[in-house]
Amino acid sequence: MASRVCTFNDPVLIAQGFHRMRKLNVVVHKWEVGLLLLVSSGLQTLCAHYFRVALYLDLSLILVLYVGWYSGPAAGAASGTAFGLVQDAIYRTFLGLNGLSKTIAGFAASLLSKVFRLDDLFSRIAVIMVVSALDSAVLYLMLLLLEQDIGQRFWLDALIKALVTGVAGGIGSRFYDHFKFPKKDFRRVGA
């Protein structure tokens, strides 16, 4: 099913009962965010030390977007700061570099979830790819502002990261949703 741009104020969707989607905004609990943070930290630490190619998959970004989709913009931004700072600590970069970009990503994800339908795979992949590119752009700007060295392959790496993160994030978040809401039939949300 192709993704479709719509809003909660769309009368057609309201007539179809789309407003029920609002209920999803309360499904991510604080303990769950903490658990995700712990698991992602462990995985990223392992990857940073033993399997650096896997760092093209930005696990923190996927989790920040996931939390952002199912919570308000403030919670999305706060989870972005938490995930980003942990990522900075693991990668041994300046504390706040990923913290800043992930904060903006979490905030943007929450806003996007209010505007776009993100219940099908392709729209999720597309949104994750776009936000991943935004995340790289914020990182690039900050590195420029802070007068730090930027690798020649920065944008190529950013592109690969966006593709890998987009595909893995789209599939992974759908899988996690099915695991979390086993009885939910996403094809019949609007019915």
Binding site: G72, P73, A74, A77, A78, G80, T81, G84, L85, F94, L95, G96, L97, G99, L100, T103, I104, F107, S110, M142, L146, E147, Q148
Partner: protein
């Protein structure tokens, strides 16, 4: 208040500010200062500039058009001073001609030859906080970090940070600030240091040397910041210490609480 903080955009701005603050305290610029300090100086400069322009303009207008009752008296004083300085210049020219015949004259001349650039003090830190000034001359005017800042009566301090149009000056009285110094009469050399008060201490003078109250001390030029021969102050107490050095206190010639204009040494 809680509702205000919970607003999404406020939360975003607070978190972004937190991350930027974290970044700026970790990263240092070429002169070793944290970016937070450099940024705050850049942000604060226009404010200080604006306030100074406003108050300075008002004070100048009042002095120029309203308070003229002392103009005649000042004119008489200036004419007398001008005559005295003319005589002094003639005398110094004669001394210079005499010295030109001495070997190593060029070396001596280089030590005393420096150019200055005037600048106005546009902001002073509270005395209880840190002994710093902001002046309205920066890198565009040739000011660099570690440029000496003086007034005709004596040394003021050194530049510790610059922006294109302003510079931050650390006063010689600040804790940790120092300058090479020598006694005018005996050429005895030591180091004057500030401790945050309005009085300096003159260190590393052996107990057996004479350093009496009332004697003047000048910069020695050995610190490579201040040119040689600039007055620093007068000795106000000199006692034999418990160790091998004297304990000497020096009152600076400059009244740091009333500084309005300074000279920056741009070539030494």
């Amino acid at each position: 208040m809680t509702d205000f903080v919970r607003r999404p955009i406020v939360a975003l701005l607070l978190l972004v500010a937190l991350n930027i603050a974290l970044l700026s305290v970790q990263i240092r610029n070429e002169s070793g200062r944290t970016l937070l300090r450099s940024w705050s100086l850049s942000v604060f400069t226009p404010v200080a500039w604006g306030v100074n322009s406003l108050t300075g303009g008002l004070a100048r207008a009042l002095a120029r058009y309203v308070f003229l009752y002392r103009a005649a008296e000042e004119r008489t004083q200036l004419l007398a001073e001008n005559g005295r300085l003319r005589l002094e210049v003639t005398k110094l020219r004669n001394v210079e001609q005499l010295l030109a015949r001495v070997p190593d004259y060029e070396l001596v001349r280089q030590q005393y030859d420096f150019s200055t650039r005037p600048a106005a003090v546009i902001w002073k830190s509270p005395p209880f906080y840190s002994q710093r000034l902001l002046i309205n001359a920066g890198t565009r005017q040739g000011v660099k970090v570690d440029s000496a800042v003086i007034v005709p009566r004596g040394i003021v301090g050194r530049v510790i940070a610059t922006t294109p149009f302003t510079s931050e000056v650390e006063l010689i009285t600040n804790g940790g600030a120092g300058a090479g110094a020598l006694l005018a009469d005996s050429r005895l050399e030591g180091i004057v240091r500030g401790d945050g008060s309005q009085i300096l201490s003159w260190n590393y003078i052996p107990s057996y040397e004479k350093a009496e109250v009332g004697q003047s001390i000048y910069t020695s030029g050995t610190d490579r910041i201040y040119p040689k021969g600039i007055p620093i102050g007068r000795i106000i107490s000199s006692t034999k210490g418990k160790k091998i050095h004297r304990e000497i206190r020096v009152k600076p010639n400059v009244d740091f609480l009333r500084l309005e204009e300074v000279l920056i040494v741009t070539r030494n």
